[in-house]
Amino acid sequence: MAQGDLRDEFNKALSDAVVNMDEDAARETAQKVIEEGLSAYDAIMNGLAAGMEIVGELYDTHEYFVPELLLCADALYAGLDILKPHIKPEEVGTSAKGQVVIGTVQGDVHDIGKNIIKMMFEVAGFTVHDLGRDVPLEQFVEEQMKTDSDIVALSAMMTTTMMGMKKVVEMIKARNPHVAIMLGGAPVTKDVTELFGADGYADSAGNAVQEAIKMVSRLREMQGGTK
């Protein structure tokens, strides 16, 4: 089989493994990609991430719900763990060398949406500094300064903790207005994002996938990747 056909076959198998929540299939196919000497980066972006894109659509159309999202994410990670060490730096390009600080704000221990966004950043090649959950507000600012990260992603599941995000946005923007800030969580709306002075938002786990996918898609377009 020509290498192009093999690549397409593996990418489809990886995408299907993610959509079908099949960790074993993701692992086995990822291993074959490496054995055949194909591009690990291509397999991540056009196999695993493409599968997650379909999962996001299935969530939007109420065919998949959060349990399915979590199991699809497990399958993605199963493949990603094998492929990631084999990514060639020149394939990733400059656009994906960014760093992101991510965490759920103080008072909130819900981290499913945060973990899905984290995964998509990892897929896209970002270095992720995950502060976990129930994170004191100042810690986001300190970590951004320490790592000089381009993006800070804040998550809050509850209205009662969402207000903390505003403070973080203010503190970070005051020090470095160029840091992109993404807000996520059920109570977050476009209006809240604008009011708080942040740059992007996702209001559900599915939406988080979509937002992250948009980012990954832009990256793929920039690098001329095809599905």
Binding site: M21, H62, F65, V66, P67, E68, L70, L71, D74, Q106, G107, D108, V109, H110, I112, N115, D134, M158, T159, T160, T161, M163, G164, A186, P187, S204
Partner: protein
Amino acid sequence: MITMTPKERIAKLFTREPIDTMPVFSGQGMVTMDAIRKMGIRFPQVHTSAAYMAGSAMTTAELFGFDAAVVPYDMCTVPEALGRGASLYEQAEEVLYPTVPSKWQTLDEVEIDPDFMTKARMPVVDEAIRMLKASSEGRLALGTWVLGPFTMAGQLVELDVLLKGAKKHKEKLEGFLSQMTELVIEVARHYQDLGVDYLSIREMGSGTDIISPRMWRTFVMENLTKIFSSLYSPTILHICGATDMIIEMMSETGADALSVDQKNDVVESRKKLGDSVLILGNFNPYETLVEMDASQVEGVIKKCIDEGVDAVWPGCDIWPEARKENVEAFVRTVRDYGEKPSPAVGRIAARERFVS
């Protein structure tokens, strides 16, 4: 024309008998910082002292003319009593509700202490209920709530373990949820025995923005049905988030009333359920009482009534930093615009009001 006491009004609402006007109350936290500041205390203190918990609930009700007082405020009392701890954020400047710091990592680790009802802050809540009952002198209604079994499970075990378990270890999860159901019944019956006037089961983690309707039927419905058949009336089932796809199943659980948030299409729900089912809801409390200009509140409340709720309930806890003028507009609009009958509850004729 106000002719009933708040307690009578709420009791009759739940039995769908005619009332004088729509009561102003909720099945969830209604404490405000206005009340807490008036008492000269801080937000973290209301969770650990029965006097402060009861006092802040009563002071809020009196400040704004609510028909009921509701305790407790946070969702960690049971998890804490089961040894999972509670982060109270005592040093935080902003309002932060307590959270559970250390959930069980797997279902196998779960161990339910048979004496949990006497542990941690459980006696504080008991005492607050007793104090409220004494101080309301039978005038105000007294409400409380317990998390539903699915949501309680998510407070005790990592949520992703629970949600993945629904797909991977169905029988094991069902067994755990049955255990949670017994625990919820024990707590809820205890509060009813202490004399609360109404009780909400908050199964907030089970909306269809999280689990599918099929999963809801499998893991949630049967347990809720068992709970409502084990409790006295009146009971309310509250679910926030997406409920349009499960509203009919919610109604089949046997709760006396259903409480939904702003994501529910009440007009459609009313069509599905008919006029005899009590629907409570469904405004966004943060947007309406904190963000909005007070002049816009009336429109939001009227819309809820026009769409067919039987009492205007906030979709979640009233955010403690609610603006005074907004809460006042909420109360005023419910009283005035709620004079007309709602789908499930009639109104006492004007003549009868004068007689009584």
